[in-house]
């Protein structure tokens, strides 16, 4: 049986995919049975869901909240012109 410490380490490392089959089963059982590790796992999953949604939105909407300042634009333009 895995200890909470091992479970937390595996969760924090986020390397489930590299685990052996028996380790995966152990991890899954532990997360299901242990309220605290279950919660810790859920919070990591929640954050990852947030990141996935953020990336999907970034991909779809092409945010431009941060905009080039005129002087930055000018600097880059200058450099590009130097190269041509």
């Amino acid at each position: 049986m895995l200890t909470c410490k091992q479970v937390s380490k595996t969760l924090a490392e986020n390397r489930y995919y590299e685990l052996s089959w028996s380790h995966k089963v152990g991890l899954f059982m532990h997360i299901r049975l242990c309220a605290v590790c279950g919660k810790a796992n859920q919070q990591i999953v929640d954050l990852q869901t947030g990141i996935r949604k953020f990336l999907a939105r970034e991909e779809k909407e092409h945010f431009t909240e941060v905009k080039l300042k005129p002087e930055e634009r000018e600097r880059i333009r200058q450099r590009m012109n130097d190269k041509t």
Partner: protein, 193 residues
């Protein structure tokens, strides 16, 4: 596929803001994002003859930018001293008992994440919090979660031990969570109308 619509002179106006933002989220540093963008354009000008037009030029430029971002982080990380206060902090934060059983519950979310993720305004908060992760954490977090690099790859790029990376990612998640909690309340978004 060189034509007037997608030549280098159009890049800055058509894609500059988008690419800057893309780099900024990952580098969290304005000057670094500007540098990465500039290097991307310069590299792209050199390689433009080989651009086959199969993908829109924006995505092609973004592909180059991704490499520049990873390069930049790798270079920057040489200057960042790796702190190895690893195990004490992890043990403190998880509070393990002698047999490795949890002694401390992770605190609950202060809002309902599932609900919040659907809100457009939340993504702004999420974005701000991502941009405010501190340098060391932000680099590792961006590579792992935004760019999807493998643990081994990140350790190699940032010259970290897996243990260090584990600590850094754990801290980053913790900081991101608390940042989200202090900047988002369920009532937010009421002002959307």
């Amino acid at each position: 596929m060189v034509d007037a619509d997608n030549g280098p002179e159009t890049w800055l106006d058509d894609h500059g803001d988008y690419l800057l933002q893309f780099a900024y989220v990952r580098l969290r540093n304005r000057a670094a994002a500007e540098d990465a963008l500039q290097e991307t354009f310069l590299a792209a000008m050199k390689a433009f003859e080989r651009y086959d037009g199969k993908t829109p030029v924006r995505y092609w430029l973004r592909g180059i930018l991704r490499h520049k971002v990873v390069d930049y982080i790798r270079k920057a990380s040489r200057e960042v001293a790796v702190d190895d206060t690893e195990n004490t902090e992890i043990l403190d934060s998880f509070r393990f008992k002698a047999f490795g059983i949890h002694d401390q519950n992770p605190p609950d979310w202060k809002f309902d994440p599932q609900n919040a993720f659907e809100r457009k305004e939340f993504m702004q908060v999420f974005y701000d919090c991502l941009s405010h992760l501190n340098e060391n954490m932000g680099q590792a977090f961006a590579l792992r979660e935004l760019e999807g690099l493998s643990t081994e790859e990140i350790c190699k790029q940032l010259k970290l031990t897996p243990n260090n990376l584990w600590v850094i990612l754990h801290r980053a998640r913790k900081q991101l969570k608390s940042c989200l909690e202090s900047n988002w309340t369920e009532g937010d978004g009421v002002y959307e109308c």
